[in-house]
């Protein structure tokens, strides 16, 4: 083992990272590999850094296994045909919204629409990302981005799927909420309206709620209030009360 393993320059360190990530150009790669063969100290650094990066990955994955295990041993959910699952999620979503705003209720009254919006808008927490079968991969893959707050990325992945399923309520709903989170209320409105018109969808009330917020953000108070009332959410009433003060 190297008696002084810490002695590596930042430049070499970053070069090795780029090599490990396969980010070097062909020429750089050749230079790199030549240097590995001729410079034993550099080779030692490379081996160490590879080991450390492997250790980081394995430790992080090991840390996730208990969570995976919990999901494997609780009821398996399928995204295709289990509408009660969606209902539960919708309820969970509403509860999350309620909890989210609980802390704000006793704060000062917001002074304008933007402020009210900022106070009350919390993206839907999204769906659990257990895969039933590979068919849901793309939808759920985007859901991971959505949950991480990468709304634009999620939208980019969802929109091609929507092309094939233009009337799908969950796709429209999540794309709508993602647009709203991404501060594009115009597109949010476009996607949320069809969900509110679909009386079979479990997302109807939540869609009204977010549609109301989208109108609030775009400054259309009348439509905002109307949709918030349709959402039948207590939070909706609270928002209207705030707006009227």
């Amino acid at each position: 083992m190297n008696p002084n393993p810490t002695n590596i320059s930042q430049k070499d360190f970053e070069l090795i990272d780029r090599y490990i990530n396969n980010d070097l150009s062909e020429n750089e790669k050749i230079d790199f590999e030549n240097r590995l063969n001729s410079d034993s100290k550099f080779k030692q650094h490379f081996k160490e850094q590879l080991l450390l990066s492997q250790a980081i990955e394995e430790q992080v994955l090991t840390g996730k296994l208990n969570e995976f295990h919990k999901e494997a041993t609780t009821k398996v959910i399928s995204i295709n045909n289990n509408s009660s699952f969606y209902r539960k999620l919708a309820v969970a979503a509403s509860i999350a919204i309620l909890i989210g705003i609980g802390g704000f209720l006793f704060l000062n009254k917001p002074t304008n629409n933007e402020k009210v919006f900022a106070t009350y808008f919390k993206p839907d927490p999204g769906l659990a990302t257990t895969m039933g079968t590979t068919t849901q991969f793309e939808f759920l893959d985007a859901m991971v981005d959505y949950k991480q707050g990468n709304y634009a990325k999620a939208i980019k992945k969802w929109e091609p799927i929507l092309k094939y399923n233009p009337t799908n309520d969950s796709l429209n709903y999540f794309i709508g909420v993602a647009y709203l989170a991404d501060e594009n209320e115009k597109s949010a409105i476009k996607h949320l309206i069809p969900v509110t018109k679909n009386s079979n969808s479990v997302f109807v009330k939540d869609a009204y709620f977010y549609l109301g917020l989208a109108y609030l953000k775009s400054g259309n108070l009348e439509l905002a209030k109307k949709n918030l009332i349709f959402s039948e959410e207590n939070v909706g009433k609270q928002i209207i009360a705030d707006l009227e003060n």
């Binding site: 083992m1 190297n2 393993p5 810490t6 590596i8 930042q10 360190f13 970053e14 990272d17 990530n21 160490e48 850094q49 080991l51 450390l52 990066s53 492997q54 250790a55 980081i56 990955e57 394995e58 430790q59 992080v60 994955l61 090991t62 996730k64 296994l65 995976f68 295990h69 999901e71 494997a72 041993t73 398996v76 995204i79 295709n80 045909n81 289990n82 509408s83 990302t129 257990t130 895969m131 590979t134 068919t135 849901q136 991969f137 793309e138 939808f139 759920l140 893959d141 859901m143 991971v144 799927i161 094939y164 399923n165 009337t167 799908n168 309520d169 969950s170 796709l171 079979n200 969808s201």
Partner: protein, 194 residues
């Protein structure tokens, strides 16, 4: 729900799966776990094992499969090839345990149900004992690192995020993010390799 969410595509290509696993795509990693665990649980429970042992054996096998895909010593043709491979490794591990002296002390072999399998399929490429030892020391070192370093290094080495995105997420400028990553790795180097 009115209809299936995705109707135009059915299966991931081999390339997609392998690259998703190499990039630690959480959806794929999680489904690899949840879709395969129960078969192993069934095997272990029916062969003198406990739930706890089923979990341990499966997780060991799971990590081994993940590693072998990462270093290209196993190149799966499709998802079911991964499942089969995972099952074989877990089964062999459980067989090894049943044959081990630790187990023999507890129970006579004759009471076991007969499970038999080719023995050449546990592949541990170049994982020499020495390498494994170093790796486990480095893993412990990482675990004991401070949270800010752990967070940054996780984003870069596990989540494979670009430095620009990491800088943005940590509200730092590009140069300080790079410096911080360098310093964090230096710290880890000291803890893990000295």
């Amino acid at each position: 729900m009115q209809k299936d969410i995705i109707s135009h595509k059915t299966k991931l290509s081999q390339e997609q799966i392998v690259s998703a696993i190499k990039n630690n795509n959480e959806v794929v990693l999680k489904s690899l776990y949840t879709n395969n665990y129960h078969k192993i649980e069934y095997l272990v429970l029916n062969n003198n094992g406990s739930l706890e042992q089923a979990k341990d054996i499966f997780q060991e096998a799971y990590i081994a499969v993940w590693k072998n895909i990462k270093n290209n010593s196993f190149i799966p043709k499709n998802e079911s090839a991964i499942s089969g491979y995972l099952y074989t490794i877990a089964k062999n591990k459980w067989m090894d345990y049943l044959r081990s002296s630790e187990y023999k002390k507890k129970v006579s072999l004759t009471t076991m149900n007969h499970i038999h399998e080719k023995e050449d399929s546990t592949i541990f490429s170049e994982n020499s004992k020495e390498h494994d030892q170093k790796l486990s020391i480095a893993m412990k070192a990482f675990k004991n690192l401070g949270n800010p370093c752990k967070e940054l290094l996780t984003k870069f080495y596990f989540e494979k995020k670009s430095m620009n995105i990491i800088a943005e997420e940590l509200s730092l400028d590009a140069a300080s993010t790079r410096n911080k990553k360098y310093r964090c790795m230096q710290k880890l180097r000291e803890l893990a390799l000295n």
